[in-house]
């Protein structure tokens, strides 16, 4: 099947098929998660709404494919600004739902601007990084990039939706791909390690261990004077960081946030409070066995044991009713889709397009990593949807537009000049 929208433009059929497979799985899962025996057909209720949003997305997709292929690059900063304005608007007129002020109500429809902000931000990041002569060493440009990411993050945190704000961390993968020193990533990983060890062993023991480690290290290398000073500095920073983490954890984080982190690290067993969702979710998925309990037959799903099952915990339905076979298939579909998008990014001839498609792939990766990881107890409970599967109009529409834009960029790659950098 070849779709000719402009001269010599064609949609990547592999991505399209993967997209459609995941979307179908999503609709089936939402139908099952919200199914009450004998009550509704696929076209009614939440699965019907979900279908409607896919329909809206398809319509928008057609519009995207009719646009001039240079439209996005030309208007990238305007698109970014538009979505940032939406984020500010939601803070002013947004409806307060469950303590988060992240919804704009228009009639019977609620829109969540944060689900579109990552789309807008990807334009800005792609635009900045593809500027001719962009360099990570240029402080002004570095600040620009940081600002472009921090603005939506701060605005979304202000809405009370920390999970959605964390999604913007996926841009670090883009930066790494685009030449940012890996030291930042390594420092980041070390910081996470110290963070976890601090919470497990407390700052006191960790710091003691670090000091002892340093003394042992010093005993073997005291002749080498050059290493002493830098390693002392690193040690001090590590100790300071550990103490700060302890302080922040004890004094700044709220109790439920502390608990969420502790539950994930297996520091406390809490199957009633913060751990309830994760525990029930693991039970639902774990009880699926190899082939699952069958479509619409999940007793845990039917019993509504897992709050927000059709949104953030939709993977439970797949795990329970589809068993390992379908769960693993879902993971494979996502991984394949992400890898395919990376491939599209790589074959883009324009740096702008490459970075944009790469951003999309990284964001989907982050969502999948956190969402599925949380349902099987490998990640803390962070409320972000599973792309194309979780119920929710904004999420569906946001990802669809994002994907269609990327596919449009890929479809018209032959019209582009060979990019200056690769």
């Amino acid at each position: 099947m070849k779709l000719y929208m402009e001269s010599k433009s064609r949609i990547d059929i592999v991505s399209l098929l993967l997209f459609l497979s995941i979307a179908l799985l999503g609709i089936a899962s939402v139908y099952s998660a919200t199914y009450e025996s004998g009550a509704e057909s696929l076209w009614q209720g939440r699965s019907g709404k979900q279908l409607m949003w896919f329909g809206v997305s398809a319509a928008v997709g057609v519009v995207i494919f009719l646009l001039n292929s240079n439209f996005f690059e030309l208007f990238s900063m305007y698109i970014y600004v538009t979505f940032m304005i939406l984020l500010i608007v939601v803070l002013v007129i947004g409806a307060d739902i469950n303590g988060a002020r992240s919804w704009i109500r228009i009639g019977s429809i609620s829109i969540q601007p944060s689900e579109f902000a990552k789309y807008g931000t990807s334009f800005a990041v792609a635009s900045l990084l593809s500027n001719i002569g962009f360099s990570w060493q240029n402080r002004k440009e570095l600040i620009q990039v940081a600002a472009v990411i921090l603005i939506p993050m701060v605005l979304i945190v202000l809405q009370g939706d920390t999970g959605s704000a964390l999604v913007f961390l996926s841009f670090f993968l883009v930066f790494y791909r685009e030449g940012l020193s890996p030291v930042i990533l390594i420092v980041g990983l070390l910081a996470i390690l110290i963070f976890i060890l601090t919470l497990i062993f407390t700052s006191f023991y960790l710091c003691s261990a670090l000091v002892v480690g340093f003394l042992v290290f010093y005993a073997f290398t005291y002749t080498n004077k050059k290493i002493i000073v830098p390693s002392l500095i690193i040690l001090s920073i590590a100790i300071f960081f550990s103490l700060s983490v302890q302080f922040l954890f004890d004094n700044v984080l709220q109790e439920h946030q502390q608990k969420r982190i502790q539950v994930t690290l297996n520091l406390i067993e809490d199957n009633r409070g913060a751990g309830y969702n994760v525990n029930q979710s693991k039970i639902a998925i774990g009880s699926g066995s190899f082939t699952g309990k069958g479509f619409l037959n999940g007793s845990h799903t039917k019993g509504n044991f897992i709050p927000e099952q059709e949104t953030d915990f939709i993977f439970c339905t797949i795990g329970e009713e589809g068993g390992w076979a379908i769960s693993a298939l879902t993971v494979i579909l996502f991984i394949a889709f992400i890898l395919r998008l990376y491939h599209l990014a790589r074959r883009a001839k324009k740096k702008f397009k490459r970075i944009f498609i790469f951003s999309l792939a990284s964001i989907i990766f982050f969502h999948v990593l956190v969402n599925i990881g949380m349902t099987i107890g490998l990640m803390p409970v962070i409320g972000i949807p599973l792309p194309l599967i979780s119920y929710g109009g904004s999420s569906v529409l946001g990802f669809c537009i994002f994907i269609f834009t990327a596919l449009k960029m890929d479809a018209t790659r032959d019209q582009d000049l060979i990019s200056t950098y690769s």
């Binding site: 790494y176 009880s287 699926g288 039917k302 996502f334 790589r346």
Partner: protein
């Protein structure tokens, strides 16, 4: 450089995918704990209660049937939220603080499993609540079977149900009962518990987190139907029972009537009695303390639990023992001057002809005759000493079921008192007692205690001329070929059948010319014996035992009316009215007995000291 980084990122993505797939394999395929936990959480095993067996009388009239009681339950107390508490309280007619208290209690009972919110909800409330229960997610009804009664009668025979208690739960041989189950506590409900209860079934259902049922598990393949209990057919004649209860109304005492040829009990009455419906599950809480504090002891089953000295009703048995042991013979006469002299002691007798033979001794109830008989027996040459002769006397009595539990199928039976020789050794010193110390036993006084059912059993054994069947109230258990074996075994007494005719003649003389001659029933030959039992605490007890007809007896009966006076004035009329009612159901109303019947029914013989403390609410409808 960028190529390498793309590669690293791709590897990271694949790695995450592999970790997820492996982790999923671990919790879904390798570890089956989640399957078990999921079933525990979302599967509810629901007991299906069988219908308890119904109870019928000897003419297959329904006496006891089932009546559902509704317990309002909470599926998962801690998950109860989002209901309109105000509306719920209004429906239940409770206020908010009461609601909170009940919810707290439910939580203490069970935090995560189902728990009782309110027991025994009334039918009216059930109907009202059931209609709107869908609004109150997490509440549901559990239906159990309580008992209800067609007649305000036979409470002591039937017994009652109650919630199983801890020690019963611990002691059960096979796991059957669960906390909250009902079982028979008294009467035939207890004795035939296993036959009546049936077999519980079970149902496996999926429930949601509020406990609302979502569907059946594996299409109900594991479900098991309940098997209803077996219906019980009693030997009680409910009309006779009711009639006896009317006669004994406002008296303290007991009537036991037995069919001698089978041992089947026709009526077993203990008065005061209570309305059995007041003691079912729904009502007992209200009436139990009332019954406990009533000084006339309405719960106490006098027919099987109260031993009385038999008084003169004992004399026919004493005569039989004397004949069998050859202490006397049919021609033996003793002279009675109106008393029996024992050294310086005098035992009084009543005025009657001086020369007293066996039949006259029964008809006129002569104490002197029996003192002499007893003395002769105790001094027979074949016995070495008093202990040996006493033991012989005692073993004759035992062969009639005296001094032992008969093994009746109504709970709380006692053995009564029949002391062994060691008892007298202890009182009088080893071997240093003789007939004179225990002579009052010969006319049914002293250390002798018989329950009314034991006295009736003696009447039945005499009616059968030498044997009896263990008295019982069961006639047939549906779906079972048998009744308990012991009720089909003929128990032979140690008296040879040839001795009975003389004694029976004497007993018949009682109703013709003797102490009960004023109560003759035309057309029915009755053999009887009155008794007036000395009561150190008040007026004498009035006692009577009899059987009829004399040839091929159909009914043997014992009546005791406490603190009423002469046997001939209360116990004997009541017994005769019952005999007439049983043998000729329509004759009483036509005969001249109507006045007697009314007198018996309307007389109030409850001692004055108890009257003010009685609770009428227990007895009425």
């Amino acid at each position: 450089m960028n190529k390498q980084r793309t590669y690293i990122i791709n590897v990271a993505v694949v790695l995450v995918g592999l970790i997820f797939i492996f982790r999923l394999f671990q919790i879904q395929v390798l570890d089956d704990k989640y399957v078990n936990i999921a079933e525990k959480i979302s599967l509810r095993r629901q007991t299906v209660y069988p219908q308890r067996g119904l109870i019928f009388d000897r003419n297959d009239k329904l006496i006891v049937y089932n009546d559902p009681v509704y317990d309002l339950m909470i599926a998962v107390p801690i998950r109860l939220k989002g209901i309109d508490t105000t509306a719920f309280c209004a429906l239940l007619q409770i206020d908010r603080s009461e609601f909170d208290k009940m919810l707290e209690r439910a939580k203490t009972n069970s935090y995560r499993g189902k728990s009782v919110f309110k027991r025994n909800v009334s039918n009216l409330l059930y109907a009202r609540l059931q209609e709107r229960l869908y609004e109150f997610s997490g509440f549901f009804f559990e239906i159990r079977q309580d008992r209800n009664y067609k007649y305000n009668s036979a409470a002591h025979v039937l017994g009652y149900l109650g919630e199983i208690n801890k020690s019963e739960l611990d002691k059960q041989e096979e796991e059957y009962y669960e906390q909250g189950d009902f079982n028979g506590k008294k009467g035939v409900e207890r004795f035939y518990e296993k036959e009546l209860r049936g077999v519980k079934g079970e149902q496996y259902l999926y429930v949601d987190k509020f406990g609302v049922i979502k569907g059946s598990y594996k299409e109900g393949k594991l479900d098991q139907d309940a098997i209803d209990g077996n219906n019980l057919h009693l030997s009680i004649d409910i009309d006779l029972q009711l009639y006896g209860e009317q006669l004994l109304d406002n008296k303290m005492g007991s009537v036991v009537a037995i069919e001698p040829s089978t041992g089947q009990i026709l009526a077993l009455i203990s008065s005061p009695f209570y309305n059995p419906a007041k003691f079912n599950i729904q009502n007992r809480g209200k009436y139990y303390t009332m019954a406990i504090s009533d000084p006339t002891k309405p719960i106490f089953n006098r027919a099987v639990s109260a031993p009385y000295p038999p008084g003169s009703t004992f004399k026919p048995l004493m005569a039989l023992v004397g004949l069998q042991d050859e202490a006397i013979n049919k021609q033996t006469h003793f002279g009675c001057p109106g008393f029996y002299r024992l050294g310086r002691r005098i035992i009084k007798c009543h005025p009657h002809a001086f020369n007293t033979g066996l039949q006259l001794s029964i008809a006129s109830s002569c104490n002197t005759f029996y003192c002499n008989t007893f003395k002769n027996m105790m001094q027979l040459d074949k016995y070495e000493n008093s202990e040996e002769s006493y033991n012989a006397w005692r073993s004759y009595l035992k062969s009639f079921g005296v001094g032992d539990k008969l093994g009746i199928d109504v709970s709380s039976e006692v053995s009564g008192w029949l002391k062994d020789a060691a008892y007298y050794d202890k009182i009088y010193g080893n071997g240093s007692w003789k007939y004179s110390n225990i002579i009052s036993l010969s006319f049914g006084q002293g250390e002798l205690g018989l329950t009314p059912v034991q006295i009736a059993n003696i009447a039945a054994a005499i009616a059968n001329r030498g044997f009896y069947y263990t008295p019982h109230v069961v006639r047939k258990i549906e779906n079972m070929e048998y009744i308990p074996e012991k009720y089909l075994v003929k128990n032979h007494t140690k008296i040879s059948p040839s001795h009975f005719d003389a004694v029976v003649q004497g007993m018949q003389e009682v109703t013709l010319s003797g102490t009960a001659s004023h109560l003759v029933i035309p057309g029915i030959a009755i053999a009887g014996k009155t008794g007036t039992v000395q009561n150190p605490h008040g007026k004498n007890h009035s006692a009577y035992m009899a059987f009829a007809p004399v040839i091929q007896p159909k009914i043997a009966i014992a009546v005791v009316v406490e603190e009423a006076g002469y046997g001939s004035s209360w116990a004997a009329p009541i017994a005769h009215l019952m005999i007439e009612k049983y043998l000729m159901p329509d004759s009483v109303s036509k005969s001249s007995k109507v006045d007697l019947e009314r007198k018996m029914m309307e007389s109030d013989l409850i001692p004055l000291k108890y009257k003010s403390q009685r609770n009428e609410a227990l007895y009425g409808k």
